[in-house]
């Protein structure tokens, strides 16, 4: 079966597709299997994802490939139910797709595939790839002289165990990638932990870093929309520890 056959009939979602609000996300998530083992991990990202898509990202479901859009890269592809629920609530995918998730011919897998889902910027799942890809995308925006778009990349605190992230953290700062924002969802699931805190890992390298309550929408929004500081920005969003 080809990718083309699996994509929705119209490559551009209907502008009139109903958009729903934060209160609807739990219902959308429940359309996917409620007892899925990834559900706790998925929920850790829910509020940050909602604030991004509702208040921060300059993206249009009718023009998901617009060159001027902000790029959002979900690196922590593990547990994507909240992501899919937000994409449905914001009109990137049809709600009916949620009921098919993880089936053989669904566009929605346990890890997302950019080739199958409109508006998804990277295929992820294996940890430690999104941030390096985000550095490449940000360098491209600079090379092409596109000053408007920002690149946002969401990672998990345990994902930072992967050394590939640290190659990217150093280089993004040295190259002054002001258009890049990393959001670390910290549910304290890293097995060996980060002494001194995650924020310090970034600030030591020269990032503009801050820590916020990962459930406080206003605080998340403020951190994600703070003026550029001549350096890449890291926002550590702390949520309850992984059960």
């Amino acid at each position: 079966m080809t990718t083309e056959q699996r994509l929705p009939p119209s490559p551009k979602p209907d502008r009139a597709r109903a958009q729903s609000g934060y209160d609807d996300l739990r219902r959308l998530m429940s359309i996917m299997t409620g007892d899925e083992k990834h559900s706790a991990s998925a929920t850790s990202t829910l509020d940050v994802l909602w604030v991004l898509y509702d208040r921060v990202l300059r993206i249009d479901p009718a023009e998901p490939d617009d060159d001027a859009r902000d790029r959002f890269l979900l690196s922590k592809g593990h547990g994507p139910m909240a992501y899919y629920a937000v994409l449905a609530a914001k009109g990137f995918i049809d709600e009916t797709a949620l009921a098919t998730w993880a089936r053989y011919d669904s566009i929605l897998g346990l890890h997302p595939d950019r080739n199958l889902i409109p508006g998804v910027e990277i295929s992820s799942g294996s940890l430690g790839h999104g941030l390096p890809l985000a550095v490449g995308r940000t360098l491209s925006l600079r090379a092409r002289g596109l000053a408007g778009p920002r690149v946002y990349c969401l990672v998990g605190d345990a994902e930072l165990d992967e050394g590939s992230n640290h190659e990217a953290i150093v280089v993004a700062a040295r190259m002054g990638l002001e258009a890049l924002t990393v959001i670390v969802i910290d549910n304290q699931s890293s097995s060996l932990r980060w002494p001194g805190g995650i924020e310090q890992r970034f600030s030591l390298e020269g990032w503009s870093a801050m820590t916020v309550d990962g459930r406080d929408h206003a605080a998340i929004e403020a951190a994600l929309t703070a003026p550029a500081a001549g350096a890449p920005r890291a926002v550590v969003a702390v949520v309850e520890p992984k059960a």
Partner: protein, 309 residues
């Protein structure tokens, strides 16, 4: 800078491509930065010549991230680090994301033999060939490098170009052509397929033997049609400058409708703990002209006597 060195020529042509095409970016991990400085490209295109330092995972995924933005990245370092160390980045950054790019390696097989096994990568073509859709070029001359690189940058495919310190005295094939006929044998004669830098030795080794000699600078996709059209007998000798048998399945698939005998010659699957020079390794592996001649003659002789029985 020497125009007949594949690696120097690569830096020269890539620098021209940076001048000619705004989609092109060169991503480096310290290796060959001296050569690029010599062309002046980093000063002319500071946003498109990117050195990430000794970080090969980042090297490949930065290139992939640029490809996701519609650019045509060229990522370059030694084969052992580009393909082996960063193999998952090659798999996921390019193949799984569904974007193309150009990976150019230096230090083929045991080119850097004195540095030992850590800098050797005779497995590279087998690894890249395990992924879907990659074009793999094994040029045998700096002129072929220029053709293949220009062609690779124009396409949207994922492309791997494998540079070597060694090569043939002259170019044998232009970009993207399949198998080139170097010598036509008589009816029933064996077919010798020489890949990239092995061609000169293969020609010398088969002097006086009635055989068709074919040259391949592109091994993926493998030119099955060209092979089928050229073959005049049932004996095939495949000579590759990397892991022995890497393209054996391509040859047998191309000729699956007929009985053949196949001799695959290449770098043995061994944990080689020798240093020295590459030519010494060729001799030890039977990949120099004398070694090739001895092995091919013995094998053909065995075939003839087996057929007689």
């Amino acid at each position: 800078m020497n125009v007949n060195s594949m690696r120097d020529r690569f830096a020269m042509v890539a620098s021209q491509l940076l001048d000619e095409d705004e989609r092109v970016a060169v991503v480096l991990a310290d290796i060959s930065t001296d050569r690029f400085r010599a062309t002046g490209a980093p000063a002319r295109h500071p946003a498109r010549v990117i050195n990430v330092g000794i970080r090969e995972q980042l090297l490949v995924n930065v290139a992939a991230g640029m490809a996701l933005e519609g650019m045509r990245p060229i990522a370059h370092t030694f084969a052992s680090f580009l393909v082996e160390r960063a193999f998952e980045q090659v798999k996921l950054g390019f193949s799984h994301q569904g974007v193309g790019g150009v990976l150019v390696s230096a230090g083929a097989s045991y080119d850097e033999a004195a540095y030992g096994r850590t800098h050797g990568a005779p497995e590279d073509v087998a690894l890249v060939g395990a992924l879907p859709g990659w074009r793999i070029h094994v040029p045998g001359h700096a002129d072929e490098v220029e053709d293949l690189l220009r062609d690779a940058v124009q396409s949207h495919d994922p492309v791997y170009i494998r540079l070597s310190e060694r090569g043939n005295t002259r170019p044998y094939a232009a970009a993207r052509r399949g198998l080139a006929m170097l010598r036509a044998g008589g009816a029933g004669s064996p077919t010798i397929i020489a890949v990239g830098p092995t061609a000169d030795a293969a020609i010398e080794a088969t002097a006086g033997i009635d055989a068709t000699v074919l040259y391949a600078a592109t091994v993926r996709p493998f030119d099955a049609e060209g092979l089928r059209a050229a073959v005049r007998g049932s004996e095939i000798v495949l000579i590759e400058p990397y892991l022995q048998g890497t393209s054996a399945a391509e040859v047998t698939a191309a000729l699956s409708d007929r009985p053949i005998r196949l001799l695959s010659i290449g770098v043995p699957r061994a944990e080689d703990r020798h240093y020295g020079r590459a030519a010494r390794h060729d001799a030890a592996n039977g990949l120099d002209a004398a070694g090739l001649r001895a092995r091919i003659s013995a094998w053909l002789g065995a075939g003839i006597s087996a057929a007689a029985v």
